[in-house]
Amino acid sequence: MMLAAVLPWVLGALILALALAAWRLLRGPGLPDRILALDTLYINTLALLVTLGLTFGHSHYFEVALLIGLLGFIGTVVLAKFLLRGDITE
C-alpha cells in the first residue's frame, strides 16, 4: 500500500522539523524567539503523534495529541502574558 510505504518518510520529515525547532529554541537570540520555537515544537509533536497513531493503529495517540494541543496553547499564552504584564492572573 502507498500509505505504509510513505509513513517512514513522513515520520523522518516531522522529526527533522522537530530538530530544527529545537535548534531555534536553544539558539534563539531573544525570549520571543524561544517561545515561538516552543510553540512550533508542540505543534510538530502533535503531527508526529497523529502520524504514529496512523502507523500503529492505536487510538490512544489522539487523546495524547489533544492534551498536548490544549496544554501547549495554554503554555504559550501564559508565557506571553507573563512577559507582557508581569502577571498571569490579571
Binding site: T40, F62, K81
Partner: protein
C-alpha cells in the same frame, strides 16, 4: 489498519500526509533559517499549522474509511486553527513590547522638494 483501504482513500490519504509533512518541514526550516523575528513568525504560524491540519485530515480520512469514524481529529484541527492565530498575535505583541530593537527600520525617505511632482500623481492628474 492500513491494509484494507480502497485505492482512492489510500491515494488521497498519502497525498494529504506528504503535503502536510512537507508544509510542517518548510515551516520549521523557515523558523530556523530566516533572519529576524517577524520573518520567523511566518513559518510556524502559517505553514506549520496548515501542515498539521493536512496530517490530521489524512488521519480522519483513514479512520472514517476503515469503519471507525471519530471526532478526535476534527476536534484537534478546529482547536489548532482557532488557537494558532491567537498565539501568533500574542507573540507579535510580546516582541513589539519586549524587544523593540528587533523592529526593522522604516525605509529611507527623501525630503519633499518644491516643484517636484511624483510620476504617479502626474499620471493621475492627466
Amino acid at each position: 489498519m492500513t491494509e484494507t483501504l480502497p485505492m482512492w482513500a489510500d491515494a488521497l490519504a498519502t497525498a494529504l500526509l506528504v503535503t502536510g509533512a512537507a508544509f510542517a518541514l518548510i515551516g520549521s526550516i523557515g523558523l530556523a533559517r530566516l533572519s529576524d523575528f517577524y520573518k520567523r513568525l511566518h513559518g510556524p504560524s502559517k505553514a506549520t499549522t496548515l501542515g498539521v491540519g493536512c496530517v490530521l485530515l489524512a488521519s480522519a480520512l483513514v479512520a472514517a474509511v476503515s469503519g471507525k469514524p471519530s471526532l478526535h481529529e476534527v476536534l484537534i484541527t478546529v482547536f489548532l486553527f482557532l488557537t494558532a492565530p491567537v498565539s501568533a498575535y500574542l507573540l507579535v505583541q510580546l516582541a513589539l513590547r519586549h524587544a523593540p530593537g528587533l523592529k526593522p527600520p522604516l525605509p529611507a525617505t527623501r525630503p519633499m522638494e518644491q516643484g517636484v511632482t511624483y510620476p504617479q500623481a502626474a499620471d493621475a492628474d492627466r
